[in-house]
């Protein structure tokens, strides 16, 4: 069997593809890679369809041994990558022979690196996706040392692009948003969201939890309870403490606190790379 044997996982390593959208009405989160462009690029580099499953590695430390020859690539923020003891770099296709080990270092910026392998990770799919959803526990188990990641059948030729320039994740981020659906529930919401917020360590694939000057409910809605309503990836929800939660791919499908604004889709990938301590503010223009 073509496979990658997991030797080390770092803080967290999960199988992710493009997720399982379309099941929100059954209470199932969309899930999927948080930095979608990085996963797509890694797949292209090894000759896969962009939708193949790879490994999403939080803060590196991932090490895998090939049981058969394969092509792999690591993307996301710039990071050191070693083939056995040799530095081979990220954002490039790397050929592994059986028995060789690939190790991902710790990125100095950003949070999530993506490992793609030729043929894709062929873990058992659930509802059309191999993504691990940390909220619901759907999808393949988190990687653990000793686990075998089976690889699918190769279909393409590695792209072998040699001009992919990785971009470090910024320490400060301005995030464009669309106000609503319930911006009227909060006091002076555009100004409140435009102040600098700090990403806290309570953040995960469900959402980014922010710290800063709390937003207050508008007078008219001060005591109103919001009946549960549908949530989207990128929704900025304001719980009673007034500190925003920005929902990411593993978000609950409904929630009972007002959503003041929604992140524009073009900026969602960047949110998958923000570390605790990162400053961000929202631009509602």
């Amino acid at each position: 069997m073509r496979a990658l044997e997991v030797l080390a996982t770092g803080p967290l390593a999960l199988v992710q593809d493009l997720g399982r959208p379309g099941y929100a009405h059954l209470g199932v989160p969309p899930s999927g890679a948080l930095d979608v462009a990085a996963l797509r690029l890694a797949n292209r580099l090894v000759g896969n369809a962009e939708s193949c499953a790879g490994v999403e590695s939080v803060l590196g430390g991932l090490s895998v041994r090939a049981t058969a020859s394969c092509t792999v690539a690591v993307t996301g923020p710039p990071v050191r990558v070693r083939l056995d003891r040799r530095e081979v770099g990220s954002h490039v296709a790397v050929h592994l022979r059986a028995g060789q080990t690939l190790t991902v270092g710790t990125p100095s910026t950003g949070l999530r690196c993506y490992l793609a392998a030729s043929g894709g990770i062929a873990a058992e799919p659930s509802m059309g996706s191999r993504s691990r959803d940390v909220l619901s526990g759907i999808g393949p188990d988190p990687l653990a040392p000793g686990a075998l990641l089976p690889l699918g059948t190769t279909r393409g030729v590695p792209a072998g692009a040699d001009v992919v320039v990785p971009r470090p994740a910024p320490a400060e981020l301005v995030v464009p948003v669309v106000l609503g659906p319930r911006d009227d529930w909060l006091d002076d919401v555009a100004r409140g969201l435009s102040t600098w917020w700090t990403v806290t360590s309570a953040s995960n694939r469900v959402g980014l939890r922010l710290d800063g000057p709390p937003l207050r409910r508008a007078e008219a809605f001060a005591e109103t309870e919001l009946p549960s309503e549908g949530l989207l990836t990128g929704a900025i929800q304001l719980p009673p403490n007034g500190l925003p939660v920005v929902f990411l791919a593993d978000h609950p499908t409904t929630g009972g606190y007002p959503v003041a604004a929604t992140v524009r889709q073009g900026s969602l990938d960047a949110l998958g790379q923000v570390r605790p301590g990162t400053k961000l503010r929202f631009d509602p223009s």
């Binding site: 959208p21 379309g22 929100a24 009405h25 199932v28 549960s228 989207l232 929630g255 889709q265």
Partner: protein, 202 residues
């Protein structure tokens, strides 16, 4: 009823009542407009997510604009019967709150016909309406840290079955051995919005 913008590719229909939301949901499901990526009912709202580049939001808006929501398409809802052992930890509390015997609580709960209004909280967790008035009771003052999978429970205007073991604050009437959610089954969830449900004491 009003539409609220929700990001670049979605809109939220803010409804006056759960009945109106269910009527709007049935109207859209019956018409099956192209380009709808997700249709997510809430307790008083309906989220419509469009595939980028489609005209689904305009189409749905037009559809709802000319629909008579007091007479929604009835369709042929799926009918599901769930066998329940009424041995829940809160059965006595529910009976006392309602001023009824435990037997009467069981008869009321298993005698009514329910509709799945919306889902959430966990995959396969449906919020079912149609709960008889005496059983509309508040959540527990302090939620349990673990409610076993299959627990049949009530809270407010809803009844539900916990598909998996989770923390929860609903009052427990009993349990079922029926599987509510299986990620490898097709469809994965037993209950979907619009389904009719009955509970049978067994």
């Amino acid at each position: 009823m009003r539409w609220r913008r929700y990001g670049e590719h979605a809109a939220l229909l803010d409804c006056d009542s759960l009945t109106q939301m269910s009527a709007a949901h049935a109207t859209i499901v019956a018409a099956r407009p192209d380009g709808v990526a997700e249709l997510v009912p809430g307790a008083r709202s309906l989220l419509v997510v469009a595939h980028p580049g489609s005209s689904a939001l305009d189409d749905v808006r037009a559809l709802i604009g000319k629909a008579d929501l007091t007479r929604p398409p009835s369709g042929t809802p799926r009918e599901i019967t769930i066998e329940v052992h009424y041995d829940g930890e809160d059965l006595a509390l529910v009976a006392e709150t309602a001023g009824l015997s435990e037997r009467e609580v069981v008869d009321l709960h298993s005698g009514a016909s329910y509709t799945v209004a919306f889902t959430g909280f966990a995959p396969g967790f449906g919020y079912l309406t149609g709960l008889p008035e005496p059983l509309r009771q508040p959540r527990l003052a302090s939620p349990r840290t673990r409610v076993p999978a299959g627990s049949v429970a009530i809270a407010g205007e809803f009844t539900s079955v916990y598909p998996s073991s989770t923390p929860g604050g609903w009052r427990l009437l009993g349990h079922t051995r029926t599987t509510l959610f299986d990620q490898h089954a097709e469809p994965p969830a037993l209950l979907a919005p619009g389904d009719r449900v009955r509970f049978r004491s067994g």
